[in-house]
């Protein structure tokens, strides 16, 4: 790319990002405005991302034929492993978030972020609205390694933002290079319990399982002050024993004295720039929803058509925050459209062969 083109593109991108940040900041944005911005982003990505352009052309979709955001081709998340999905050269990006590579051995999906302004804005606005329950700051404990230890983890960055933007000065990490700092955490929990100030513990779902097992081994339970909250995310991913959802949230409330209605599950993906939340897990499965700059559909995986409301399908998300990669991704998660959002019903793997033939899914699980 020569200098003039680079500069011209930079100008166009800056304008797009400015409009995007303005859209994110206006909660009353209309469907038309969402559609218009989605189509602008699509045209931008089609023009500047060669791999995505090929993907669209193979489906006969171009900015000339796509008139609705629903018609933007959804890129399967495997595309983040096999293709370079970026409008700018990857080496010029401030951050690359990588998937943990749980499904295909060590092949990691890569999500390129030229800068994190949009990601951070998306995260903080949404986190304040969905997790902070009206507070500006509270004491946070993080059950996940920090960004130094995991520079390519989007969750590490997400939690670092939470700590920095929403934590009081005594907030801190309880998971380091040597693992869970159980003594410190127990001391904090005991202190918080006595002090009466609300506390929030945030981390990977499997870290909560490990923590609960460790506390049970010490016969410890806590009754955290009213207003305390828990945030878990990501499921168990083979990192801890699997627990049924009701069992998991029951155990959380028994162990920490936090009602299930204040246990929030965040559904996020490396391939997105925006997260989904539920409003507590007293009723399962909890309804997940996102802010106005992300929209979700439930699709038939083969035809790509919308499934009727109430029927199971594969979730696809259109996240305007993904301005540099692709707005629309096809997940491997099964969901159902309901009033106010969608239900997340787990992963679509487990298509075990019903006969005695080895199937690709079983093969991939074995190769992990």
């Amino acid at each position: 790319m020569n200098q003039t083109v680079t500069t011209a593109m930079q100008g166009a991108t800056d304008g797009l990002v400015a409009d995007l940040l303005a859209f994110i900041a206006s909660p009353g944005a209309t469907d038309e405005a969402f559609n218009a911005l989605a189509l602008r982003l699509f045209a931008h990505q089609f023009q500047h991302n060669a791999a995505f352009q090929k993907f669209c052309q193979q489906r006969g979709r171009t900015p000339r034929t796509v008139k609705r955001w629903q018609d933007i081709p959804a890129v399967p998340i495997n595309g983040f492993k096999d293709l370079t999905l970026s409008c700018v050269p990857p080496q010029s990006c401030e951050r690359v978030f990588m998937t943990s590579g749980t499904t295909r051995g060590d092949v990691k999906g890569r999500h390129y972020h030229p800068q994190l302004r949009v990601y951070d804005r998306s995260m903080t606005l949404n986190f304040r609205a969905r997790f902070m329950a009206g507070r500006d700051r509270m004491r946070l404990g993080i059950l996940f390694p920090d960004e130094r230890l995991m520079p390519n983890s989007s969750l590490a960055h997400y939690l670092a933002l939470a700590l920095h933007d929403f934590g009081t000065p005594d907030s801190r990490y309880y998971l380091g290079a040597e693992g869970l700092q159980l003594d410190d955490l127990c001391a904090t929990l005991a202190q918080v319990q006595a002090g009466g100030e609300p506390f929030a513990l945030l981390g990977a779902s499997y870290s909560f399982v490990h923590l609960m097992d460790a506390l049970q081994a010490r016969s410890l339970k806590f009754q955290l002050p009213a207003g305390s909250r828990l945030l878990d995310t990501g499921g168990f991913k083979g990192q801890s024993r699997e627990m049924a959802m009701d069992e998991f949230y029951d155990a959380l409330s028994i162990t920490f004295g936090v009602p299930s209605s204040a246990c929030i599950n965040m559904y996020g993906m490396t391939e997105l720039s925006t997260q989904f939340y539920d409003d507590g897990n007293a009723v399962l499965p909890a309804v997940k929803s996102g802010p106005h700059w992300i929209r979700s559909r439930v699709l038939d995986p083969l035809t790509g058509q919308d499934r009727p409301a109430g029927e199971r399908g594969i979730l696809a998300h259109t996240d305007l925050g993904n301005y540099n990669s692709v707005t629309t991704i096809l997940t491997e998660d099964v969901g159902v459209q309901v009033d106010g959002g969608f239900l997340l019903l787990g992963r679509a793997q487990g298509a075990q062969a019903k006969g005695c033939s080895l199937a690709v899914d079983e093969f991939l699980r074995a190769a992990r």
Binding site: K54, D82, L302, A351, G355, C356, S357, A359, F363
Partner: protein, 482 residues
């Protein structure tokens, strides 16, 4: 409609709990109730079957057992027989497979269990089949006798119609009383066969039992396996590993894991005259049982140098798959299966950006061929009529491509000239294959095949040797000694 499966000699139906498995929707819906015994009831059932086996089965000569199985199979091959009609009606609803495909598949399969085939089957493993009836003299001196297990336990998996018949017959031929645990995906076939066998041969009425419990029900598994002398199990490696943990160390465990199969097409088969028939045969191997069988092909490796290019062969195969969709429609896929097929298609598509893979068949078609000019290592496909065609310069280039799947390789279907066939047979055998057959025959192994390369009957028995020394010594204690 409601039916019941299972077969419980010596146990009253109202003494056990029944569980309902539901298949299909609307008018096609079938509710199958299956018996779910307590661990204590399983032990009682095992004792009953074992005692009956000793009294009835073990005193029958093999030839009479073959006769009984033959009469049962004859009934199942008769299109007017009520058992046959029930299978034809219900198997398609339970498995979701096309009814005509099931009917044709059953015929081809059942034919391999007639008396002459069963005799051959026994002769494959026993040069002298009378070893199964009584002590026989051995060329090395002394005598020997083959005894089947006192109790054989089968754990079946999957929905490929008729699969349980294979191991059931093996057990009967070595006179093993048996308890079979049916798969939730297809509980019917084994149950009907046990009932039919009791009808054609009353002596066999109480030597087989058919039960059900949920996979992973460790209490039932432990109770049942503790009673068995041999446990024969089908399933994925995860399932088999879990099962093995509950089999006592002194019990023989014969696992049949999931397998992979491939097809090979030589340049000799690729002229305008023969190519279409070869493509047709290959398509049939893909369509039959929707690639759910261990013998079903995942990839066809095709040699260059014939009049027809590998790419043209791929197109012909796609054409045949399209034609077969009219005759045998693909069953509706579950969301998980559809996601798996879609994921496989997308992965192939993304590899295709540099021109490496060409997809034939779009997302709306009920089949998909992925053609690659450059062959790569064998990988499983997504089943349900998804298949790869890959080009090679020479067929023997396939050998290193199979290496990583050595443990799971099973059938290789071939269309090749005699010289190539015999040269390849040696190499494919070393690469892990256990069965080489013609394209078009991949899903129909011949009678008496050595499933996964093992001795289907010999693996079940225990040899009892009466050594010459005992005979000689006995002479010195004979009343007529000098």
């Amino acid at each position: 409609m409601k039916i019941s499966a299972g077969y419980l000699p010596g146990l009253a139906a109202d003494a056990v709990q029944w569980h309902t498995l539901t298949f299909g929707e609307g008018a096609q819906r079938v509710d199958v109730s299956v018996p779910q015994l307590t661990p204590a009831q399983l032990v009682t059932l095992a004792a009953h079957v074992r005692v009956q086996g000793r009294a009835q089965l073990q005193s029958m000569p093999v030839s009479q057992i073959i006769g009984a199985i033959d009469r049962a199979i004859e009934r199942l091959l008769n299109p007017a027989d009520p058992y046959r009609l029930e299978l034809e009606l219900l198997l398609p609803r339970i498995s979701g497979f096309d009814a005509e495909m099931v009917r044709l598949g059953l015929n081809a399969y059942l034919k391999t269990f007639r008396a002459p085939q069963l005799q051959r089957f026994v002769a494959e493993d026993f040069a002298n089949p009378k070893l199964l009836d009584e002590f026989q003299p051995r060329p090395k001196g002394g005598m020997a006798r083959a005894l089947g297990p006192e109790l054989l336990v089968h754990v079946w998996a999957g929905n490929v119609p008729g699969l349980p018949l294979w191991s059931l017959v093996c057990g009967l031929l070595v006179k093993a009383p048996a308890i079979g645990k049916v798969a939730s995906a297809e509980p019917l076939f084994a149950s009907l066969f046990a009932r039919l066998l009791a009808e054609v041969e009353p002596r066999l009425a109480e030597v087989l039992a058919i039960v059900w419990f949920k996979g992973g029900d460790t209490a039932s598994e432990r109770a049942l396996f503790a009673e068995a002398e041999v446990v024969l199990a089908y399933g994925g490696n995860e399932t088999l590993t879990a099962l093995r943990q509950h089999v006592p160390i002194t019990t023989r465990f014969l696992p049949h894991g999931h397998k992979l199969s491939v097809g090979l097409v030589s340049a000799a088969a690729l002229d305008a005259q023969r190519m279409q028939a070869v493509a047709r045969a290959a398509a049939l191997d893909v369509v039959r049982y929707e690639q759910q069988g261990c013998y079903s092909p995942h990839t066809f490796y095709v040699a260059r140098g014939g009049r027809v290019t590998p790419r043209e062969f791929a197109q012909a195969l796609a054409g045949e798959l399209a034609a077969l969709q009219h005759k045998f429609a693909r069953r509706p896929l579950s969301l998980e299966e559809a996601a798996s097929v879609a994921g496989w298609r997308q992965a192939q598509e993304m590899q295709g950006y540099d021109g490496a893979v060409e997809l034939l068949g779009d997302a709306q078609t009920a089949w998909c061929v992925a053609y690659a000019e450059q062959a790569s290592a064998l990988l499983p496909c997504a089943l349900n009529r998804t298949v790869q065609v890959q080009a090679l310069e020479r067929l023997d280039e396939v050998v290193p491509l199979l290496a990583a799947q050595r443990e799971v390789l099973q059938t290789v279907g071939l269309a090749a000239a005699p010289r190539e066939l015999h040269a390849l047979a040696e190499q494919l055998g070393r690469a892990g294959a256990t069965r080489l057959c013609a394209l078009g025959q991949m899903t129909a192994p011949e009678a008496g095949w050595h499933h996964d390369g093992r001795f289907s009957l010999l693996d079940l028995v225990r040899m009892v040797e009466l050594e010459a020394s005992a005979e000689d010594a006995a002479e010195s204690f004979a009343p007529y000694r000098d």
